[in-house]
Symmetry: C2
Subunit: 116 residues, 2 copies
């Protein structure tokens, strides 16, 4: 039995200014994380869905990045205003949000023409 139905990792990584790869947050704080956490709680999913802080997920060029396990669905360029859709569609209804997914060919790659 897994501890959580879904375990969501939100990248909080903040690099020093001038670092060669971009950062998912400016200062280790994430409104996206807070927003998702509050919506999961409001939906009564606490204890079944966990919104977790994570260190660098190594997809920096497509950040801010979120990965949902055990589905292994990756979202890129995620904004706080996308939280409602991810929670309602993916975490409640079980339908990944296609428009936010990092394309397969972008994973582990520094370029990604599909991301804004």
């Amino acid at each position: 039995m897994p501890a959580f139905q879904r375990h969501v990792f939100v990248c909080h990584n903040a690099r020093a200014e001038g670092a060669p790869r971009p950062s998912c947050t400016r200062d280790g704080k994430s409104d996206l994380h807070t927003e998702m956490q509050q919506r999961v709680k409001a939906a009564g999913l606490s204890g079944r869905v966990r919104i977790n802080k994570s260190g660098c997920l190594d997809q920096c060029e497509h950040g801010p990045v979120v990965v949902v396990y055990p589905d292994a669905v990756w979202y890129g360029n995620v904004k706080p205003e996308d939280a409602a859709e991810i929670v309602a569609e993916h975490l409640i209804a079980g339908r990944p949000v296609e428009r936010l997914r990092v394309a397969d060919e972008c994973m582990n790659s520094k370029s990604c023409p599909h991301q804004g």
Copy 2:
């Protein structure tokens, strides 16, 4: 296609002294993480297996805690000297290390008679 064959999250959470729940690390640094990372690299698994830092995984009483996705296998009370076995057995050979698993009845519970 998932980005990683296996994605391992090592709790790095450090609470203030006197906090009601225990911490997985004393100062946000984890020799366990470093040890696993080095062994994954030495095994030539970089890019396929990622050893990730994470915030609190909410299983504090069984920490230091590690979770391996997409398997959703949870390990508790993990020491740096356990890294070699987790990497060789689980991440290379695909056999979870039973002696380190958090028992199902301990997940999301503050007590766990099976853990040392």
